[in-house]
Amino acid sequence: MAQLTSFSYRHGASLLHQLDTRFKLLFMVLLSLAAIDTSFLWLSFVTLSVILLLRDAGVNLRQTAKELRFFSFFLLFVLASRSLTTDGTTLFSWWIFAPTMQGLEEGVRFCWRILLVILLSLGFIVSSRTGEIKASIEFYLAKVPFIPEKKVSTMLSLLLRFIPLIFTRIQQTIDAQKARCIEARKNPYYRLVKLTLPTMRRIFRDGELLAVAMTSRCYNDNRTGLTLQSSTLDYIAWLVVGTVVILRWFI
């Protein structure tokens, strides 16, 4: 038995699962855009709502945080660079470092926004099948001229299909290296190289094997697609999300 990574589809009947994937995709894009340079109050409200929806969809937030722990280094780096490079009231001064209040605020806002986008994507991935995602992307791209919607949607859905596999492979490589005492090496660069190269090699090999397996089962662009159907619930959700997005300019 295996354990699913947080970024895997889970079968369920939660509110997120009941929504049409086309609407979910639209909501994700709208809320991500609305989160640019917005107030902390708006961010708090939306983040809390998304967390409640994720819990309802069966997502284990503790596991998600654990899986994203390496990402926190990136966020810390962004926070530090923003607070050090933005002009404003100096909080304290030490050697060449002088973080500002405005910079810190900007950094927190930026990192929060990134986290919100990750949570929105998580909600989308755990509640949407690859086939549904493919059909939704195809639906939107069909309206854009000169874009081969079937090819693009296939590539994007395959990429999404691969995310959990990448997480699994990273974890397997980490475990295998821990078993050979990698933690005794203190040089982070050495550890990063030793993790990245074998993981990438395995991911490429997995990709190749998956492609062969799909070819053997007659994979092609003109396959029977899923028929997506919207319901009243989707339009109610549309109304709620629309209101939240508009509220962004008032709170």
Binding site: H11, L209, A213, S216, T224
Partner: protein, 250 residues
């Protein structure tokens, strides 16, 4: 009997110039159960991949049900279903149901027909109750059965298994073997590669031994027992101890 697979003077060279298959000539009858044995690197998997058109001959020809493989790959892949050694790399769906539906969807079938085929295939491999589970949460034996179901949903005539018992425990091996035997009883042609002959020897009618890309032996299993060790295959217990052959299912 009618030949479902005919291989004429098949040679395969890899891009680095290594010879994978060397002048293979074979004829496999419809409804038969053929085991291809051999040690690692003997060319078993390379040969199987030609049956499904995943590899094309450097020279020679592979004919499936009267059609040369390179003429209509889609039709060939529908006729010959391939179950790979590593189930995890074969599973593409987010649920058991979705994975089985993947093949019929590729054939462009109607939704209703896809649903019917999926239910039928899941029933055959006894996975109907797991239809909404994520495939990666299944046990090793269940995953192998899922890969069989996903191929069965395409209604192939020939089923090709690449090391179907690898990484399986005893109960799972028995379950998978039971399904393979019952599929042959239903009229499917079974071609299976393994280096653990013990598990299938009681059920197959023909044993082909591959060695260095060539067919080294091709006869009934019992007649080859004494020669197996020289090709890196363990001689079955029944032969070593002079006892009658026994099925793993008995």
């Amino acid at each position: 009997m009618t030949a479902i697979i005919e291989i004429q003077d098949l040679c395969h060279f890899f891009t680095d110039g290594t010879c994978g298959l060397d002048h293979i000539n074979l004829r496999i009858e419809q409804g038969s159960f053929v085991v291809i044995g051999g040690c690692n690197g003997s060319g078993k998997t390379t040969l199987l991949r030609h049956f499904n058109g995943l590899l094309l001959p450097t020279s020679g020809q592979v004919i499936i049900d009267g059609i040369p493989v390179e003429r209509d790959l889609q039709a060939i892949r529908q006729k010959v279903g391939m179950v790979f050694q590593d189930s995890d790399n074969q599973i593409v769906g987010e649920t058991v149901h979705d994975d089985v539906a993947f093949g019929p969807e590729n054939l462009g079938l109607e939704r209703q027909e896809i649903g019917r085929r999926v239910e039928e295939a899941l029933q055959i491999v006894s996975l109907s109750k797991q239809r909404d589970l994520h495939p990666h949460l299944l046990s090793g034996g269940q995953k192998r059965r899922l890969t069989i179901a996903s191929v069965l949903a395409m209604q192939p005539q020939v089923l090709v298994f690449d090391e179907p018992f690898s990484n399986l425990d005893y109960p799972s091996t028995k379950q998978v073997l039971q399904h393979i035997v019952s599929l042959q009883d239903k009229g499917h042609t079974i071609v299976l590669t393994t280096h653990e002959l013990e598990k299938v020897i009681a059920h197959c009618q023909r044993l082909i031994i591959m060695h260095q890309g060539r067919v080294a032996r091709d006869a009934t299993p019992a007649s080859l027992f004494n020669e197996l060790e020289q090709f890196g295959i363990r001689e079955p217990c029944c032969s070593r101890h002079g006892i009658p052959q026994e099925s793993w299912l008995s």
